[in-house]
C-alpha cells in the first residue's frame, strides 16, 4: 500500500514541478536573480496553502499529527544551506527538480545527478569529521517548531498554539506571494524566453 502511495504522490509531485516551471533552469535562475519572481510566488503560495490545510486539518482532527516530520536545527543546516544555494544558482537545479529535469530530457540534469551522487558519497565519507566538529550539535532544542503543536512529538520554541501559529504563518506566506512584485532587479517586463 505504501508503495502505491509513493507512486501516486511521487508522480503527482514530479508532474507538478514540471508544470510550474521548477524543473526548468531558466525559471530557477530568473527567480534567483530576482528578475522574474513568478516561480517564487508559486512556491510561497504552495507553502502557505499546504500549511493552512495541514494545521487546519490537525485542529479538526482530520490529519494525524504524528505524520509531521521536523528536522533538527544545527549550525550545519545553515552552512549546508549556503552550499546548496550556491550550487543551485550555478546549475539551476536542486535535488528534486534535477531528477525530474533529467527524466524530462534535459542533458545537463544528468550531469547534475552524477555530481550529486559523488557529492553525497563525499559527505558519507567525511561525516565523522563534521560530527566531531560540533557543527551538527542541536540548536535551540533541535527538532523544534515555532509554536507548540498539540499532540506532536516536537517541542515548541514559543508556548503559543502551534496549530494557530501555523495557520497564521500560512496566511502570511499567501499574502507575501500576492504582494511580491514580478520583478525586483532590472527594468522592463520580467523576462520570459521562448522555450
Amino acid at each position: 500500500m505504501t508503495i502505491v502511495l509513493a507512486l501516486v504522490i511521487g508522480a503527482a509531485f514530479g508532474a507538478t514541478l514540471d508544470r510550474i516551471g521548477a524543473t526548468n533552469p531558466n525559471w530557477i535562475i530568473r527567480m534567483l536573480s530576482l528578475r522574474n519572481l513568478h516561480l517564487m510566488k508559486t512556491i510561497l503560495l504552495a507553502i502557505g496553502t499546504g500549511s493552512i490545510l495541514m494545521f487546519g486539518g490537525q485542529m479538526l482532527g482530520l490529519v494525524d499529527v504524528l505524520h509531521m516530520s521536523v528536522k533538527t536545527a544545527y549550525v550545519g543546516v545553515f552552512i549546508g544551506g549556503l552550499m546548496l544555494g550556491g550550487g543551485w544558482a550555478a546549475s539551476g537545479y536542486c535535488p528534486g527538480t534535477g531528477v525530474c529535469a533529467a527524466a524530462s530530457g534535459r542533458k545537463d540534469a544528468w550531469f547534475f545527478i552524477g555530481g550529486g551522487l559523488l557529492g553525497a558519497a563525499a559527505y558519507m565519507v567525511t561525516y565523522p569529521s563534521w560530527k566531531a566538529s560540533g557543527l551538527l550539535d542541536k540548536l535551540a532544542g533541535g527538532k523544534v517548531t515555532l509554536g507548540s503543536v498539540p499532540g506532536a512529538k516536537y517541542d515548541g520554541l514559543m508556548a503559543m498554539s502551534g496549530d494557530l501559529l501555523g495557520i497564521i504563518l500560512g496566511i502570511v506566506f499567501v499574502l507575501v506571494a500576492i504582494v511580491l512584485p514580478e520583478r525586483m532587479v532590472g527594468d522592463g517586463p520580467a523576462p520570459v524566453a521562448a522555450e
Binding site: A15, I20, G21, M83, S91, G114
Partner: protein
C-alpha cells in the same frame, strides 16, 4: 509557459498536503545517499550487514547512524521514500511529454546559459556536475534540501526549515546575479 502562479501554487500546496495527510512530508536528497549505498554495497557486500533480523548496520558511520535507518533503506530499496523519487521522474517525464516535450535546443543547453556563455555544452555540463556535487554535499550536511527543509520544513513551521532557507537564498541570489548577467 508554466502554469499561472495561483493555479500552480494551489496545486503544489495540495500535493504537499496530500503527502502529509496520507504518509509524511516530502523529501528527496536522502535518496542520493541510498542509491550510493546500494551501488557501494554491491561492490563491497561487507558495507551493509544485518546482525539481527530486521536490524541493519554499516561499516560507514553515516549509514549506521540513527539505528541504521539509511543502511536498512539501502538494503530494501522498495521502500516508500526511494520509490517516491523514481515516481517523481515518471511523473515529470509524462507531464513533459503531454505538453509536447522539451525542444532539442533546450535539452542540449538552457536558454539562460546560451545567452551568457554561447554554444558551450562542455562548460555547461561541467558546471552542472560541480553544482550537483556542491548541492548534494550541502544538502546532506544540512540534513535536507529544497523539498525537505524549505518546502516541507517551513510548511510545518520548523526552525530548521527557516535556518536552511536563510542560508540557501543568502548564497543563491548573489551567485545567480554574478554568473548570469544577461537575461533570457
Amino acid at each position: 509557459m508554466p502554469l499561472n502562479w495561483k493555479t500552480g501554487g494551489v496545486l503544489l500546496g495540495f500535493v504537499f498536503f496530500l503527502a502529509v495527510l496520507l504518509v509524511k512530508p516530502i523529501g528527496v536528497s536522502t535518496q542520493f545517499v541510498i542509491l550510493d549505498a546500494i551501488v557501494a554495497d554491491v561492490a563491497n557486500p561487507e558495507l551493509i550487514t544485518e546482525p539481527e533480523a530486521g536490524t541493519y548496520t554499516s561499516t560507514n558511520a553515516y549509514l549506521a547512524k540513527s539505528n541504521g535507518k539509511y543502511a536498512k533503506n539501502a538494503a530494501n530499496p522498495l521502500n516508500y521514500s526511494f520509490v517516491f523519487v523514481i515516481a517523481m521522474m515518471i511523473g515529470a517525464f509524462m507531464s513533459a511529454k503531454l505538453r509536447g516535450g522539451i525542444g532539442a535546443d533546450e535539452r542540449k543547453l538552457p536558454a539562460i546559459w546560451y545567452a551568457n556563455y554561447g554554444d558551450t555544452p562542455v562548460a555547461r555540463y561541467s558546471v552542472a556536475f560541480v553544482g550537483g556535487f556542491i548541492v548534494l554535499y550541502g544538502a546532506r550536511l544540512a540534513g535536507g534540501c529544497t523539498s525537505g527543509h524549505m518546502m516541507s520544513g517551513m510548511m510545518q513551521t520548523s526552525l530548521s526549515g527557516y535556518l536552511f532557507a536563510a542560508g540557501a537564498f543568502a548564497a543563491a541570489v548573489p551567485v545567480a546575479l554574478l554568473m548570469y548577467k544577461k537575461e533570457a
